[in-house]
């Protein structure tokens, strides 16, 4: 219902604009801006969020220059979506193949190797063997692999609260054993 009224309102504005009504056209474009800005922002990575405004403007420009491709008998929202989608895909492609770091500025590869980390990881595995298996897995997933508590809990078929408690107890017992009983 919501979508239907939006479609009808925007289509009426677009048809009026195609007939030369500048007021309707201005209203249409500013309404589109309101919808397009969050739409692009949601789809962009945080590093590129600042491009949302550019994309909104490019889309408005495309709507303007290619408005003869709108068929009055077809839905306006679908047409607009196709244009915005095209601009978004174009943007992603354009930026995906452009290197962000120049070769000369890139960090050297042979400055540090992974063997120290590997030793650390072996130690961690040894220590985690001291707590119950499921608790060890929960700790590894949430603290080392970056999963959220909710994700890890779901993976083991337990509630989020139970997972939190298990992780807390496990860490506490490890602390007691390896850190000299610190609280």
């Amino acid at each position: 219902m919501q979508a239907d009224t939006t479609e009808m309102r925007l289509r009426a504005l677009m048809v009026a604009a195609l007939d030369g009504d500048a007021g309707a056209y201005r209203r249409l474009l500013s309404e589109l801006t309101r919808y397009l800005r969050p739409w692009f922002a949601r789809r962009l990575t945080p590093a590129q969020a600042s491009h949302a405004e550019d994309l909104v403007q490019e889309t408005l420009l495309a709507v303007h220059r290619r408005r003869m491709t709108y068929d009055r008998s077809r839905p306006f929202t679908a047409w607009l979506h196709a244009i915005a989608h095209h601009k978004f895909v174009d943007h992603v492609r354009h930026h995906a193949i452009r290197p962000i770091v120049h070769l000369d500025d890139d960090a050297p590869i042979f400055a540090a190797d992974d063997s120290a980390n590997a030793a650390d990881r072996r130690d961690v595995e040894t220590i985690l063997a001291d707590v119950p298996e499921r608790t060890g897995a929960l700790i590894r997933e949430t603290r080392l692999e970056g999963a959220s508590v909710a994700e890890a809990a779901a993976r083991h078929g337990m509630s989020e609260t139970a997972a939190k408690v298990a992780i807390h107890r496990g860490l506490k017992s490890l602390m007691a054993r390896f850190a000299g009983g610190a609280k």
Partner: protein
Amino acid sequence: MTDELINRLAADLHPVRPRTLERRILAAMALGCAITVVGAYLFLDLTMGRPFGGAYGSPMFWTKAGYTLAFGLLGLAAAPALARPHGRIVWPFAAAGLLVVLALGLGTMGWMHQGWAREELMGRTAMVCPWLITLTGLPVLLSLLLALRSTAPRSPTQAGTAAGLVAAGFGALVYAFYCGETGMMFMAVWYTLGMAMTVALGTVIGRFALRW
């Protein structure tokens, strides 16, 4: 900044009549055909000495005219849809493929009845026919691609293919008026090859020229 853009665009608003896209495509097709007709007369008739209507009166002339016109019309059916940002259309291309299969099938049968005579396949102009057909299609192709540059094709490649199909059909149609060949297999192989070259050209150019 965006508000400024909106004001600029609103000030630049000109009315757009319904079916403008279709009319632009037809106008571009007509312009290209006009150039091809004049060019074909100057080049094929006056320079190469091919008389206009070389195969008039033979049923094969009408077969060639119908065959080529069909591709042009199929292209015209596909072009407006593919010039739109959410345009998808398959049947004209499927129909064009079927038409080629049909022509090759009929051509092979006719050729068999002639005892696989070399004349039926090669005629006298097999080596120039595909190139000349591509050449006669070129003005239509360029005119159409130019018109499509102000549209918003979902896939520039497919829009180029549609433009190529229109150009192939109407270019070959004009060529058929200066072609004296009467073999069905000749048409099925060499006309089709010439048109395929035009379609391929349209696809490749469209892929780059129709980006927006």
